[in-house]
Assembly symmetry: C2
Homo-oligomer: 365 residues x 2
């Protein structure tokens, strides 16, 4: 049967070769006569998977030795609380950059643990841009930012900032482009975009920063417990880690993060060009902060919006409906989405323009 | 290739029909042209999976309407902290029953949140029994117990207790036998034994009890947030929930929990009978508290232990090595393990006895 063009915002498309290997492992993993779903996480075979996945993360993102690579559960939403629980000490304040829906969620959780300072916000323009030039007070416990705003379609391209330790939610753009790990003290990311299936969370953190964590934190919410136990203090999400390993091996085959970044730039350029050209659609984010992962755009009227959604669905395009609070469209261009799918979408937009203008002319006659 | 006899303690064996359906869904779920790994958790198809899984839990365990069924992440280890975080209020104390390794872990986490009282412990006899007749003070915030002790091989068969609200870690025996939900105020269980793959946690809780939770709890650690959002406050572990649904459908086909309980009793009876009969092995748990899920036993000497492990491995028997702190053997007889696998193990024990006694006679000659 015909494969769909999956522009979903996450859980999202993964390479079909990864799906095939994952399915095979569910039946019989590596010829062991056991499914990947029934092996012990303490088996040498699975311990090897955890180690390989860690090493792939290190290799693909050039993670220096003085940083730890950890696999947790609970998604970015759990990190929203774990970050202040670990690092917002009494008498300190935490600085937050407000760039949208998920940044707001992180701020809400932090307020349960101590004083929160909003260093800047783009709420004034419905989060259509990334604030720059704000004051990053070095006395803050940390500065928290969201590298890519999935709902609003904006992305931070410059992380250079002097001041408080930088903590970044990279859930929706990690592994999509080169980053300089040493710009950050801690990075976290829900896996279900460019890393693997839902159910695991990646954390990359500077050891020196982890050592400053507050004491007396419950084990499963203490980064150091994961570091000291090779992410296996308890039963980890075995299948999610295994599929992440397969997916990172695929990424390596694509020329790594630099290779995929070039293709991601190309895909985004193609789609934004059509949005800017096509009179039926317009982008929502400021041009210089447009996300390469989540392209948000609106239709000129409700008729175009409804009509194009149906037109695209008939062409096997799925997952382009905008987030419920924003409306319109959101096309997510994650790593595994091929350029050919973007071409199908762009062609659909152009075809729909033709049909719509013919129809409108007809109605006017 | 020959399928192994998987006696692993968890993640553990699941039915092969479940593995096959899961593998198919990884390639193309329900003919949608999408993998179960790439569908949105907000899609009507997946919302239906969550609902169906909840209803299956309700049906199989006869969960009354005034209880909620929730799917979380982080395993029982996260529950060890979440329980006191939600229910151990200032000025109250929490009562804990110490029946082994995991009970101890729960106690350790609770101490971070307030006063903990050990109502009874079987530590004096290496946790070979379940303490009975202890005082359950109704003024305690709750009484916490572990229904099945995976490492020590003991199980609680009587939960009737008047006093504080009862909270139970049922990670390793839920769905293996009939329970009376109304005996408990809250039950939690890591999924990776009788429910599904690692990466999800089941919680069943009385609504009235949840309503008493302390305020100001981080969203991902607040049971009420999961209740109010149908376990989808954030991206849930999609694949784990889907496979759990398949597995619970399988369980329903087996005559439900009553049907499987009869088979579990039969399997345990067969293996314990061989342990009691065979002069090379002996059980570690007191007879009346022997677990039906995790059968722990020792060999009479190191030579038998090492020899039998190898002998069994050659017959395709895997996962019977005892926990590192206990040694010897542990054969886990979870729902999906067929009686025929237990027969293979019992026959192996008898055959090894023959070989060993022949060999010993030979050596003596």
């Amino acid at each position: 049967m015909h494969k769909k063009h999956n522009f979903g915002a996450g859980p999202c498309i993964l390479p079909s070769s990864v799906m095939e290997q994952a399915a095979q492992a569910v039946i019989n993993w590596g010829g062991m006569g056991l499914s990947i779903l029934e092996v012990s996480h303490r088996s040498p075979e699975f311990e090897d998977v955890v180690l390989k996945t860690q090493l792939l993360v290190r290799e693909l993102l050039s993670v220096p030795d003085h940083y730890s690579v950890l696999f947790l559960q609970g998604g970015a939403s759990t990190q929203f609380a774990m970050v202040p629980m670990n690092f917002l000490s009494a008498g300190k304040k935490a600085a937050y950059l407000d760039t949208g829906y998920f940044a707001q969620k992180a701020i809400k959780e932090a307020k349960l643990f101590g004083e929160v300072e909003l260093v800047a916000s783009s709420k004034d323009k419905d989060y259509a841009y990334i604030p720059v030039g704000f004051n990053n007070d070095k006395h803050a416990a940390y500065l928290h930012c969201t590298s890519n705003n999935t709902i609003e379609g904006t992305e931070i391209f410059d992380f250079s900032t002097a001041g408080a330790p930088l903590i970044c939610d990279m859930s929706s753009d990690i592994f999509s482009r080169k980053i300089n790990i040493t710009d950050f003290d801690l990075i976290y990311a829900g896996a279900q975009k460019n890393m693997g299936p839902a159910g695991m969370t990646l954390v990359i953190a500077k050891n020196e920063f982890l050592d400053q964590a507050k004491k007396e934190i419950p084990s499963m919410l203490d980064y150091r417990v994961f570091r000291d136990n090779m992410s296996m203090y308890n039963t980890p999400p075995v299948f999610s880690i295994y599929v992440a390993m397969l997916n990172l091996l695929w990424l390596k085959d694509q020329g790594g993060v630099s290779g995929i970044e070039q293709r991601n730039i190309e895909k985004a350029k193609l789609l934004y060009a059509e949005i800017d050209r096509n009179p039926l659609f317009y982008g929502t984010a400021d041009v210089e902060h447009r996300s390469r992962m989540n392209v948000t755009f609106l239709a000129i009227n409700k008729e175009v919006e409804t009509g194009f959604l149906k037109f695209a669905a008939d062409m096997g395009i799925v997952g382009i409906k905008g987030y419920r609070t924003v409306g319109g469209f959101r096309a997510s261009l994650y790593n595994a989405l091929p350029l050919s799918s973007v071409e199908v979408l762009v062609n659909a937009m152009a075809s729909f323009e033709k049909i719509y203008s013919d129809k409108t002319v007809l109605e006017l006659e």
